[in-house]
Symmetry: C2
Subunit: 313 residues, 2 copies
């Protein structure tokens, strides 16, 4: 989800103290999902997410049904980032006592809509009312590799080409409540080519690409004039004076995929867009070194630090 | 967790709309954990829980480390209720921006303490800060049957004897932050005898036994003078004028086990307490019919409706 100042340092602290048996838990904290062994050959992928009123949604602008949909969709997007197949989900909600049963039912209906669309039934959960005005919703999702080795953030190699699905920026205008997690697209791409690293764009391209570069021990360059800018980013730019590119680079909650593909495979992707449901754009490449660099149309380079911001703040 | 008015009706509504393939998901909403197939013979058990500041803990009386411990312990208690073996957990926290890094680290340390004690590592999670004064913490837990068929709430049969572990009532005085989930005890008992139904006492004996009776399509009788009353229940009774028995029957968050055992096995349990770490008390039995009845020392009977209450209200 959106990443407040200091969160990454705290996660680094947690990771530094976490001693996982790599046989039992091949992927631990810091990736889109964890990978856990269940005895024998059996494995599952796991993620947990939560939405907080005022941070991830605003009930003045979002219907409870949309909040329910988003709650499950953000976890489904984590499964997409690993090219995993969703199995089932759990849901939890903390609701103000002042909210009525209809509100809770609408929230559940939104979750059920996402569950049905992605064949990921909600198999359990919990609802608590509290004497606070705020709504919080949590989900946990179980997925399985189902024939595709889970794709991590850390496998990008210098020379890899970077691709993004869809158009970026300005999701706060409404897309952040109604996006389609790229579950099918991720599995299609992973079946076609060797994906070295993948992440879903939840924190914004600049932030998420910095995650991939850091985790891969590499750098990255983004070609400014190649970034696919959404109409929402352009509309938002007219309102706030920031550039459309700034929005596309730094806005959070696009929930598109960012992937690093080895050059031989990238040529195939460049020749023809293999996805019927989303544009696939070549936006840059992985380099030696570290950090992310933005390359302007005139060739000039500038650092592109993590710039994701939080909604409603 | 604690069950506000109307929650059960809402869960019934959700269950009535949930169509799960019973082959893939043999246990769905309404039990302590869900049971999900992962392809082939592979299965896992799943639960999600959340703690809300002011409802499940009060930071004037609880250290962040205790809150972290409790957050994972409530999920571990769900695993105990199914006699399942915990595999790993995910954790999530929503923290006020005003809380410092030390607070977050203490919270994590409390979770790590529970994780280590029960060999249930935290393999992933998420931390979000929000501009609200309240702390919320969520956990999801994965367990596996590991040789014991998961024990449901719904299998109790007329004639079964009811047992409870530990002493009940008054956990709000502190035990609700430091209880030991009965994971080991549940698996010991399940290995010894045939347990028809089991639940962890999170909502209070009266409420949770009503769950077991309803789910099993049966009634139940509790012998008032057999209920194991905790010292906390007696202390609280002196403060608030309610009886110690009332506290033992209706207070939430004991996180002890309630189990229904067939008579032939119950005799073995009555002869000798097989648990080194917790008292096991015969408190009543399952009957034909429906509803829960309290039998006083003089033999008089009265209904025992769900009486669980919410903390801090």
């Amino acid at each position: 989800m959106t990443e407040p100042k200091g969160e990454w340092k705290l996660i680094e602290w947690i990771r530094s103290r976490t001693r996982l048996d790599p046989q039992a838990f091949p992927i631990g904290p810091g990736d889109d999902m964890a990978l856990a062994g269940l005895g024998g050959e059996s494995q599952c992928l796991l993620t947990i997410d939560a939405l907080l009123e005022g941070t991830h949604f605003d009930l003045a602008r979002a219907a409870p049904r949309q909040v329910g949909y988003k709650a499950l969709a953000v976890s489904l997007s984590d499964a997409a980032a690993m090219a995993a197949k969703p199995v089932c989900a759990l849901a939890w909600a903390g609701l103000p006592e002042t909210r009525d049963v209809q509100f809770a039912q609408d929230l559940c209906a939104g979750m059920a809509e996402a569950a049905e669309k992605f064949a990921c039934p909600i198999v359990g959960g919990d609802i608590t009312s509290w004497n606070q005005p705020l709504v919080t919703v949590g989900t946990a999702l179980v997925a399985r590799p189902a024939g595709i080795i889970p794709i991590r953030r850390s496998g990008a190699k210098p020379g890899d080409l970077l691709f993004a699905t869809g158009d970026l920026g300005g999701s706060v205008l409404g897309r952040h409540l109604a996006f389609v997690p790229r579950v099918a697209e991720a599995r299609q791409l992973a079946a076609l080519v060797t994906i070295h690293a993948m992440i879903d764009l939840s924190d914004g391209l600049s932030t998420d690409l910095n995650h991939v570069a850091r985790e891969s021990g590499a750098g990255a360059e983004v070609m400014a004039d190649a970034v696919p800018i959404s109409d929402d980013a352009r509309r938002l730019a007219q309102q706030d004076g920031r550039t459309p590119l700034d929005h596309a680079l730094n806005d959070g909650e696009d929930f598109e995929l960012l992937l690093a593909v080895e050059p031989v495979d990238a040529r195939d992707l460049l020749k023809q867009n293999p996805l019927a449901t989303a544009r696939l754009t070549h936006i840059g490449h992985i380099t030696e070194g570290s950090g992310v660099t933005l390359v302007a149309a005139d060739g000039s380079k500038s650092p592109l630090p993590p710039g994701g911001y939080e909604h409603f703040k």
